[in-house]
Amino acid sequence: MTAKKAKSETPLLDELEKGPWPSFVKDIKMAAERKPETMDLLRQLEMSYVEKIGHWKHGGIVGVTGYGGGVIGRYSDRPDLFPGVTNFHTLRVNMPTGWFYTTKALRTICDVWDKHGSGLTNFHGSTGDIILLGTTTDHLQPCFDDLSAAGFDLGGSGSALRTPSACVGPARCEWACFDTLDFINDVTHTFQSELHRPMWPYKFKIKASGCANDCVAAIARADMSVIGTWRDDIQIDQNRVAEYADAGLDIEGEVAALCPTGCIEYDPKNKQIHIDNSNCTRCMHCINLMCKALRPGRDRGVTLLIGAKAPILEGALLSSVIIKFWKMESPYQEFKDLMMKIWDWWDENAKMRERLGELIERLGMRVFLREMGFEPHPQMVKSPRYNPYYFWWPEDLGLEPKKEEEGEE
């Protein structure tokens, strides 16, 4: 064993085979046993570990017929040393919504990938796709063809709709306030062209969580964040409340005292809780702690927030509320119409590589609301403006509207 180590080509990486957490190095070696080219990935990576620098060239454009995305082109900058990864492109495969699989489906993907690629994958990419990691240019189209035949399609990349994702929702979670899976699956199928053919100023992401716990981090990273909520009262089973108390939960300290609006009153004598629902902001904390006793209300739907993104270019943004409450039911036409409207406006007005949130930042929320025909409401803001630099529409003053110049800059 020690003898073998000593002769290893990848002594640094070998170190990462040890330890309790599953080792990607083991998996690369596993794949390399069947696919010798894949060993060049490990070798190149070892060189990176020694030199502390990456060895991939700036991505090139490769793809499959009919699509403008779904493939990330990648080339080694040392094909002389690592010919096996001279080109090593990635395919993004749209995962089944909610990341549910049968072993049959999974094995099918493995079969295709063993035929066409490195044998390495990511389950999953951080947008949610199945990442088939590393193949050559000539295998892209055949690989796609086989995937398609097996019922799989590519996900998004480039200036297109990115693969939408949903929390596990009604499939397993008692708090899902709408059908996240059906919704995302439906929307994904509706917007196939937007997903596969980049034609916008930049990327656009849609993510849906069934409740405010936001288990797909939609508010942090989706241009359109769809979050389940309700608008009536939290359902309370007082007997179950008493059971929690009897079981030793400190309802006063752990539940009531941590309610962000202080709207829970706990009566320790009768072991009952009273919620002032008019002040409840549906944050989920009390429900999270007492799921047997408390449930979301019955009148359920979603809150829509828009604009989240990572820092590049103008700084990170979180999504912000534009619709307080919508019923969200199949076939989701109202939502789809809204998406088309938003994309049209964005497409028309945005600069290259300007995400929706940045465009709104530049042109002003009031312009966006007006274009969408939405009424402003205080729930859209943490607080109203504190600078006095606000605009009046000519119509507000009974004057002639001016010719549109907004797109100009």
């Binding site: 599953p22 083991k26 060239k57 700036h58 909610g98 999974l106 094995r107 499939a171 941590l258 989920m284």
Partner: protein, 353 residues
Amino acid sequence: MGKTDIGPPDYKNFLPPVIKKNYGKWLYHEIPRPGVLKHVAESGDVLWSVRMGSARLISTDRVREYCDIADKYCDGYLRFTSRHNVEFLLTDESRVAPLIEELTRRGYPIGGTGHSVTSIVHTQGWIHCHTPATDASGPVKAVMDDLIEYFTSMDRLPAQLRIALACCLNMCGAVHCSDIAILGIHRVAPKVLADRLPKLCEVPSTIASCPTYAIKPDPKTKSVVVNEERCMYCGNCYTMCPAMPILNAEFDGISIWVGGKVSNARSGPAFSKLAIPFLPNNPPRWPETVQAIRNIVETYAKGARKHERLGEWIERISWEKFFEKTGIEFTDKHIDDYKLCMTTFRNTTQFRY
């Protein structure tokens, strides 16, 4: 040629029968032990989910192994989570313990539920990307090896603790809203390959790519020059223009960010804030990074109240106490100087010494 635009396969075909039957009718859940979720439906049906850590970067062999296990215990049903853990889905309670035993025997960690450190959302790094300032899978492996006891338990932490890693400022994980974020950073301006730039890139869009207006045209070379004083190494110019490489073995490394969160529970979503401006790339085990994170996790675990997320804890005790308790040095890098900086300054005499 393959049919296009067929979209993802219908998830309904992949749901186990117990889910199909109780879809949308779940009543409550329990977490009887770390890594095990017990969901009870209104019908009384029970679904067991056993959650297992994964390297995420896995071979088809590994996927086939998952399948073998799922076939053996779960009638062929399994799923992955939004943080890349594997969940085995069963209805037969009596098969839960044997499943866990087998997974453990095969060396898989079970956990990631409740008040735990779950898998680290991460990115490509030196495995597949062109802009990384660090590796992804390596630091993740090193950190998780070190924090394993926090993955497999639920009683060591006041609340859930979510770690994410991105290997450059593009931040392909949602690292900007993580309890702890590991972020690869560059620290010197891109080189301008003046001879190749005019061929490879559009000058105007290269100039426009810089958020701090550090790039100016260079009429002499028909290329551009970078005002190094103004460059904060975001790498966006390199994304736009291959003739401006920014990778640098000597100066690239890792920064650590803390206190972000995504859920709306108690407090709203929040960005992670800078804790440590720089740690060196020290493969294969990044000991400085591992140690820095353990220090933060332990200090938090010791200090926070129950249900308090890392950022909620800091908000309560104050940032000055955070730096004091963790022993992390506060530097001029911590003070914002980008567009919204004035909103981060302390506009009150209220502080702790």
